[in-house]
């Protein structure tokens, strides 16, 4: 191939065009992240909130009797979960479909995490910090909820279940809650 004098200019022009295309790709990607973040309100957990893992079970919102699904006055539901080696409390969650749900969760020992299969729910759980996020389940169904961060040699046993039920059914269950329990779960 003969390299004639103007080849340098040609090369530069082609390079410049490619660089512009690359920057355009970057701008589009960032734009998509911003758009979905604002438009669908899909943002990662935003505030840093701490909690003492040593005293979770004695006082505060993460005592055992307060774990599970709590119907709130505004019609939404708050789900509180504690993870420990090698289980979640409660091991079976029951939540209504079509209702805003706020998760509040933490760990009492090491780093855990969970996802709920067939949904976009996915969070780390770290001792000392509270993970908070909001979601709405679109339809009734059963899901698995595995721990997804290595938490020790029993990690493979750490699976919980999530039962999404019809809103009316959930409210019925809430009304029939036994007097001695404050929160709903499907732990048998």
């Amino acid at each position: 191939m003969a390299i004639h004098p103007s080849s340098h200019d040609v090369a530069e022009r082609v390079e410049r065009r490619w660089a512009i295309l690359v920057l355009a790709i970057v701008v589009v990607l960032v734009g998509m992240v911003v758009y979905t973040g604002v438009h669908w309100a899909m943002m990662p957990p935003s505030r840093v909130e701490t909690v003492r893992p040593e005293t979770l079970h004695v006082s505060g919102e993460f005592i055992e009797s307060n774990l599970g699904s709590a119907p709130e006055a505004d019609g939404s539901v708050t789900v509180r979960i504690v993870a420990q080696q090698y289980s979640f409390t409660p091991q079976c969650l029951v939540v209504p479909a079509g209702v805003p749900v706020t998760f509040r969760a933490t760990s009492s020992d090491v780093v855990h995490g969970f996802l709920i299969t067939d949904t976009n729910i996915n969070s780390m759980l770290e001792p000392g910090y509270v993970s908070t996020f909001k979601t709405t389940f679109d339809k009734p169904g059963d899901h698995l909820m595995p721990c997804h961060e290595y938490c020790g040699t029993g990690h493979q046993n750490m699976w919980a279940h999530v039962k999404v039920v019809d809103r009316a059914e959930f409210m019925q269950m809430a009304d029939k809650m036994p007097a001695n329990s404050r929160r709903l779960s499907c732990v048998q």
């Binding site: 090369a11 899909m42 780390m124 698995l144």
Partner: protein, 541 residues
């Protein structure tokens, strides 16, 4: 010239032996967690294996390759003997001793913390000490690369630094600074607990420090592969490098933007606010720029080779490429895997999509495709290219090389594509076994079995790789022609200071890291209520 043959060979052999062992562990892991194998009686064995596999493949293997290749480049590109040969051997022994020191407690089941060692899980102190030795050994190399460049510059004022050396030093600085995050975590947070001086640790802050290292370490692994793309491949296939300046810009961009993006590993974490998560997401898109520039420049260089061989037409030239040349094959395979892996990476970095795949098998599939696939296949190529110059004997098994590269490529695709797929189905990573009898998991069984086959193909490929190298050591002595790096179409005669030195870029690298990490770290350091009790691993609870 070339006084460091034994040094480079020692690095490569130790690297590949460690790689071979870790690869077998990896294949065993694939098998035992699949439906083909009954549940492990002792799942703890699995986590020992994962810890060793990750520690070797993440820390020892690529570090040794980068070091060995760096020493070779320093002599070959600067055309002068390596300064500080004795220190280089010291660095080598530090890495070797560190690797053994870390392996012993892992093998004994005293440090099954995995290579990410997230506190408050704490393993045996010798595991961390071993990792520190590996890193300190590699820092000796960072210093030597800098010293060798400086001493060359003193004698060659104003001349362009040879591209291969420029890129190698960029990689060295990148590693030197990115290792600082994990070093702070290990030295100031974990070791005091592992030794027994402290009983509490901030789990969230430790993850922030680790993320500083965890992402950019991938670019450190990637550097030798990119250096091979730019400075070996065009020469090996009979072409020219399209643009020397673009190559330098790509390496500079890696240096500057690969650190301040690590928080994209923490999108789902509670200890970092969403503002900084967004910022790191944006910077992560920027790091796609040097890769896209590289893809362009290398494809253009390959086209030059094809047209020099008589290739015609807008795409017809592809036929004219030397497809029987292992270097050409490896480059094509590497680019295909880089393409798929890179597309997966863009999904991981946008935090809405990340929430679908975070910590699932998708992520394991992603980094095996990028590192094990696109990068490691270039490590093979580097070995094939350098071996005759290191041993003075020709590598004659060209057909075997082609088989080896084909099998590595096929094996990696068969391994990682199903892995990505089960990740989307929600299969969590890092588990010793799964209950495939559960109807919700039964559908994943077939994909997992296919992955096992991919793992076995990789083992076969590695066996061929060792046969090629060992045959090379037994071949008759020859006088290899002088080593050459690729020449650019327009070789630079002078370069602007910005493309021929690092000071400005190092300031930017450190500055950007401090801007993007300063507040999240300071915020957590300032709080007094974040330390939690450490949880020893391996001890009876």
């Amino acid at each position: 010239m070339f006084n460091s043959k034994r040094l480079v060979l020692a690095h490569f052999w130790l690297a590949f032996i460690a790689f071979g062992v870790a690869l077998l562990l990896g294949a065993w892991q694939m098998l035992v967690r699949s439906p083909l194998h009954p549940w492990l009686q002792n799942p703890e064995l699995y986590y020992r294996s994962v810890t060793e596999h990750g520690t070797v493949m993440g820390y020892a293997f690529p570090t040794l390759i980068a070091m060995g290749f760096g020493y070779a480049v320093s002599e070959l590109a600067l055309k002068r003997p390596l300064v500080g040969l004795r220190f280089a051997w010291l660095g080598f022994w530090l890495v070797a001793i560190g690797a053994v020191t870390a392996t012993v407690p892992v093998a004994m089941g005293l440090a099954s913390v995995l290579y990410t060692f997230y506190p408050p899980m704490i393993g045996n102190v010798f595991y961390y000490v071993g990792v520190v030795f590996v890193v300190v050994g590699s820092w000796v190399w960072v210093a030597l690369m800098s010293v060798n460049l400086a001493s060359w510059k003193r004698e060659n004022r104003g001349k362009p630094i040879p591209l291969a050396m420029f890129a190698t030093v960029a990689g060295a600085y990148l590693w030197g600074w990115t290792a600082v995050g994990a070093a702070i975590e290990v030295l100031f947070m974990i070791l005091p607990v592992a030794i027994g001086w402290k009983t509490t640790i901030d789990a969230g802050l430790a993850r922030v420090f680790f993320s500083w290292t965890l992402h950019a370490i991938v670019y450190f692994w990637l550097m030798p592969a990119y250096i091979a793309y730019y400075t070996i491949i065009p020469r090996a296939i009979g072409g020219r490098l399209y643009s020397d300046a673009m190559a330098r810009i790509s390496f500079i961009l890696f240096l500057v933007v690969s650190m301040p993006i690590g928080i994209h590993h923490l999108f789902a974490d509670p200890q970092v606010g969403s503002g900084f998560k967004f910022m790191h997401s944006v910077f992560t898109t920027l790091v796609a720029v040097p890769t896209l520039l590289t893809v362009f420049t290398i494809c253009a260089s390959v086209e030059i080779a094809a047209r020099l061989r008589g290739g015609r037409g807008p795409l017809g030239w592809i036929k004219a490429l030397p497809w029987d040349n292992p270097m050409m094959l490896a480059l094509a395979f590497s680019f295909v895997m880089l393409g798929f892996g890179g597309a997966g990476g863009l999904i991981n970095m946008s935090y809405q999509l990340d929430s679908t795949v975070h910590n699932t098998q998708w992520v394991t599939g992603h980094f095996h495709l990028i590192f094990g696939g696109a990068i490691v296949i270039m490590y093979f190529v580097i070995a094939y290219d350098l071996w005759p110059h290191l041993t003075g004997r020709a590598l004659q098994s060209v057909k075997l090389m082609r088989w080896q590269l084909w099998l590595w490529f096929i094996g990696m695709i068969v391994l990682t594509f199903p892995w990505h797929f089960v990740g989307i189905l929600g299969m969590p990573r890092r588990m010793a076994f799964y209950d495939y009898n559960d109807p919700a998991l039964a559908a994943q069984a077939l994909s997992v079995v296919i992955s096992v086959v991919g793992g076995l193909i990789l083992v076969v490929s590695a066996v061929l790789f060792f046969i090629v190298l060992i045959r090379g050591h037994r071949a008759p002595l020859v006088q290899p022609e002088a080593f050459r790096f690729s020449r650019a179409v327009h070789e630079p005669r002078t370069l602007p200071v910005a493309l021929n030195s690092f000071a400005l870029w190092l300031v930017l690298m450190i500055g950007l890291t401090l801007v993007n990490y300063g507040y999240p770290i300071a915020q957590l350091l300032a709080r007094s209520d974040t330390a939690v009790p450490a949880v020893p691993i391996g001890a009876q609870r």
